[in-house]
Amino acid sequence: MSAKSQAALTLSKVTKNFGLAEIIRSVDLDIPAGERHAIIGPNGAGKSTLFNLISGAFPPTSGEILIDGQSVGGTPPYQINRRGLSRSFQVTNIFHNMSVYENIRCATLWALGHRYVFWRSIAGLRDVSARSEEILELIGLAPVRNSPAGLLSYADQRALEIGVTIAGGAKVILLDEPTAGMSAHETERAVNLIRKVTEGRTLIIVEHDMSVVFGLADRISVLVYGQIIASGPPAQIRADKKVKEAYLGEEAV
């Protein structure tokens, strides 16, 4: 277990029950810093639940979650975020009545050290403006910067979702089905975007689009019924018989 020292994220024996239902069953996962890791699995396997546990949306029933070797199990989401872990949501989760620019700007504040400040004008915070502009360029939403986020097209909202997730500059990024509902073209754009924005960071992504998964991931874990049944580089997963049975089906992509 010497790898632990450099692991960006470690899950050990993480379990989650909802009432009597065991949704996550003793999951162990080690994700080294800088890796792009995909989690795939059938619907209802518990992928989003796993994200919820990692990001602090709710505490695990048992087991431990470590970020950079430090335990975070049971701490609220904002503290986990402050530790440098940020996530996106399967269902778009942005600030609908605020402009695109404000969405991004709010997401940069904490990381740049501007906490609960109410004595300085936000417009006067140079670093915030600079970072927000940068992100806006990156996600390609600069042209619609002033429209309320709720009025954006679906694809743009998904891009904004990613933008909000990465704006704080977190070291570990969790993306939950970032390309769901996108056309092939948009998916391609999104993948490029993801590739760009997670440069040098640790990425964990949940996806059903196998072209995305296989194109992006360094390593893949397969979650079935709350258990990781396989974990390894793409080629190995593609060849795995159990995985085929449980997830990919015979004529896999």
Binding site: F18, G44, A45, G181, M182, S183, A184, H185, G249
Partner: protein
């Protein structure tokens, strides 16, 4: 059975549908293809009365444009929306019960039958539907709509966000629906499924129908695919 002609629709000022013509015969499976944002969902919503339509929509000979949705549904059109609008606080079983138009009106579909078909749902029959995973929700939505025993169902992007295996299951369910004599209007991104199970396809672009034909026609027509579907 369904005859849509010169259908227009607006969101505020933006003119989304600019004269859509579609027709579907009894028991026919028809796909509506097109890029994101061309207005396929809007078409379906307009037929269902969720978006105010202009133009003519005839179903079984009646003009239904402008009717409230519940009357349209009662005439025999089922609708499976894009975003899996299950009722999160109700149990799976209650969701299914609500699909029925009257308390004892089970037709070609029964609650038990649906649960049998999807063991995942059966296991959670008494759980609030809100906790289902994305795929389970999709199944539930489709089954729920079928409980109303429609003669035509419009299914909007049923495979979005589904694992490959489940996508297959959905495909099978659609085939099963068709087998029982229900006409289907399928809105899909995943070309392979759509082309496999449809009798006819429409391709939409810029708020209009730009192509109409059999799947084979479409496969043969590279130009349309390049220009309107980008595959």
């Amino acid at each position: 059975m369904l005859e849509v002609s010169q259908l227009h629709a607006f969101y505020g000022k933006s003119h989304i549908l600019q004269g859509v013509d579609i027709s579907i015969g009894g028991g026919e499976v028809v796909s509506l293809l097109g890029r994101n944002g061309v207005g396929r969902s809007t078409t379906v919503k307009a037929i269902m009365g969720e978006v105010a339509p202009r133009g003519s929509i005839r179903f079984k000979g009646w003009e239904i444009a402008g009717l409230p949705s519940h009357r349209i549904a009662r005439l025999g059109i089922g609708y499976v929306p894009e975003h899996r609008d299950i009722f999160p606080d109700l149990t799976v079983r209650q969701n299914l019960m609500l699909g029925m138009k009257d308390a004892r009106a089970e037709g070609r579909w029964t609650i038990q039958g649906s649960l049998d078909m999807f063991p995942n749902l059966a296991a959670r029959a008494e759980a609030p539907a809100g906790v289902l995973s994305g795929g389970e929700k999709q199944m539930l939505t489709m089954c729920r709509t079928m409980m109303g025993d429609p003669d035509l169902v419009m299914i909007d992007e049923p495979t979005e966000g589904l694992a490959p295996l489940i996508v297959r299951q959905v495909g099978e369910l659609i085939v099963e629906i068709a087998r029982r004599g229900v006409a289907i209007l399928l809105v899909e991104q995943k070309l392979s499924i759509a082309l496999d199970i449809s009798h006819r396809v429409y391709v939409m672009g810029h708020g209009r129908i730009v192509f109409e034909g059999t799947p084979a026609d479409l496969k043969a027509n590279e130009a349309v695919r390049k220009e309107w579907l980008e595959v």
